[in-house]
Assembly symmetry: C2
Homo-oligomer: 339 residues x 2
């Protein structure tokens, strides 16, 4: 049995309420008894039972972070950012991994109504574009902030990057580098970020007088073997050099894998740009050109917005839609000079 406020009160011949207040450093308690209580509590190594206290106060001090995956440079770095501000605010971070499974996501979200967490940070999973499970969330009005992968149907603050612009820049760079064709490797068009990046791609194609060829837009889903297959087909048939935009980290590295398998040379045969936060992109062979998102900052920003809402400062200016720019790091994978 752990030690309680009740025991302290009994031992010190005080009322529990007095002890409670003393422990909370209330002004209505004399310095003298405060000291007595504090000292004794210290001596007994007392720690307040958080959940009992929380039951009263109707808060848990926990926030949820829902991500598709944690073994991914972007998400793990974003988690670092979130943790940084949570820690500072004395909040605790519960991690939920959806593994891109919407039914799993749905049950996670459902659980939140049980009051386990005070707020939610979320990057939605791909899969069928059903948002009903998220809609329901609105009923339980616990604060929610989306980061990176948002859900447009839900009214909530979001933190994203300039995905359209990035897609545009990436495409344009590949065109400039003389790619005979440029392909876009997506995951699923159900994802906000993929859609935006794809739109940037399309816009750049059009702006550069190129046709948009649906055969060059691959939506591989999450099944690796499927992606590898369609990518292989594309790479063998396309006129070279072909430019590839890998719209996620996983997809970008798969391009390398497939090229290796097919004995295609990067950047001679294939030129590639990946949306990626890998620290070691520059160590790949050849170094991978990346669009790098400010993952840490995004996590921080999202958490900051969440805490603002938690603290009831909703007053200020409604739903925030923060957009943070990402960086294009040009490296060997796109080839040399412009043509």
């Amino acid at each position: 049995m752990s030690i309680t406020i009740k025991k302290i009160a009994r031992d010190l011949n005080l009322a529990v309420s007095t002890v409670s207040k003393a422990l909370a450093d209330s002004h209505e308690i004399s310095e003298q008894t405060k000291k007595r209580v504090l000292d004794y509590a210290d001596q007994l190594n007392y720690v307040r039972n958080t959940y009992a206290s929380n039951l009263k106060k109707k808060r848990t001090g926990n926030i949820a972070v829902v991500v598709p995956e944690v073994a991914d440079s972007y998400f793990s770095t974003a988690i670092n950012g979130i943790e940084a501000v949570a820690q500072q605010k004395n909040y605790h971070v519960i991690i939920y991994i959806t593994h891109e499974d919407q039914s799993r996501e749905a049950s996670i979200v459902r659980e939140f109504r049980s009051g386990r967490v005070d707020g939610v940070l979320m990057s939605v999973s791909s899969g069928k574009n059903t948002t009903t499970h998220l809609q329901e969330r609105s009923q339980s009005n616990i604060p929610l902030v989306f980061f990176d992968r948002v859900c447009d149907d839900i009214e909530a603050p979001t933190v994203t990057t300039d995905d359209l612009e990035s897609g545009y820049k990436a495409t344009e760079l590949l065109i400039k580098r003389g790619c005979k064709s440029v392909a876009f490797l997506g995951m699923t068009e159900n994802l906000s970020i993929i859609r935006d990046r794809l739109n940037g791609y399309k816009k750049a194609m059009v702006d550069n007088g190129l046709d948009i060829n649906e055969d060059l837009i691959i939506s591989g889903g999450i099944d690796e073997s499927v992606i590898i297959e369609s990518l292989s087909a594309l790479l063998t048939s396309a006129s070279r050099p072909i430019g590839i935009i890998g719209s996620t980290e996983k997809l970008a590295t798969l391009v390398y894998v497939v090229c290796k398998k097919l004995s295609l040379q990067i950047p001679d045969d294939v030129r590639v740009i990946g949306f990626s936060n890998m620290g070691i992109a520059s160590l790949l062979s050849p170094p991978l050109t990346t669009i790098t998102q400010p993952a840490f900052e995004m996590g921080k920003a999202a958490a900051t917005i969440l805490f603002k809402n938690l603290e009831g400062k909703k007053a200020d200016a409604g739903i925030v839609k923060a957009v943070i720019g990402s960086l294009l790091h040009e490296r060997g994978s796109v080839g040399g000079e412009n043509v």
Copy 2:
């Protein structure tokens, strides 16, 4: 105000206990009233307040995972393993990142006495070899399981890999590949895993009739610039080819970085083996030879042990010390044939 068991009871003209039991599908409630309650609860979209329930039951349904870092292939994969079993057991995972800071670690551990979590999975941080903060934990006897980076002073179950053997194998391979000297790149010898890997290294050196040269054992700490500096010094001065064992993922990739900076060729000038769980080790230039730990399985194993303890099955055989083998993946970074 969210909807409570009390309201259901009132509306249905039942006692709260009846409703509570019905909701728990107790056998002492008639099917009929069960249905009534369930239906009504459904209709009202009732969800049990976890923490109120937990306060009674003296459990939270949360476990803590304390890791030095989350943006690291090993830890993030281990977290996946932990999450897999936690999810299945209906537990929730709170993540704590120490950033290799022991004072942070201490305050995290202290917090656990507040009853926020039912159990703890931990991979200790480096830094001064103080374990007092962990010792204290023992007082609050919440179950604890160490994984990967253990703390020998504390009596607790552990899940580790065969670090000594791996260190031995790595060293031996480098010797066989004709390295003129073999260096060990550690982080701090305060870490159990580093110590063991280093011992394996030393043993292999001795077994192969080589001297142990303290200059070849670098403990870089966590300051990247310091590591780079000492590594640069070593690489410029040593007779080549020199073999390097990077005892963590970070250290292994730093070898690549430094070689690039110094224009040294891997594997001609430098041969390297890294303890790493990177999926893309094979895409590096040249592909990195790795000792890969079964991170996912370790996470799973650790969590499984924890839950066993949580369920009070301590009876079985005291403190478990599980050791799982890691795999040596030989790739281009160690050079070609044996000499």
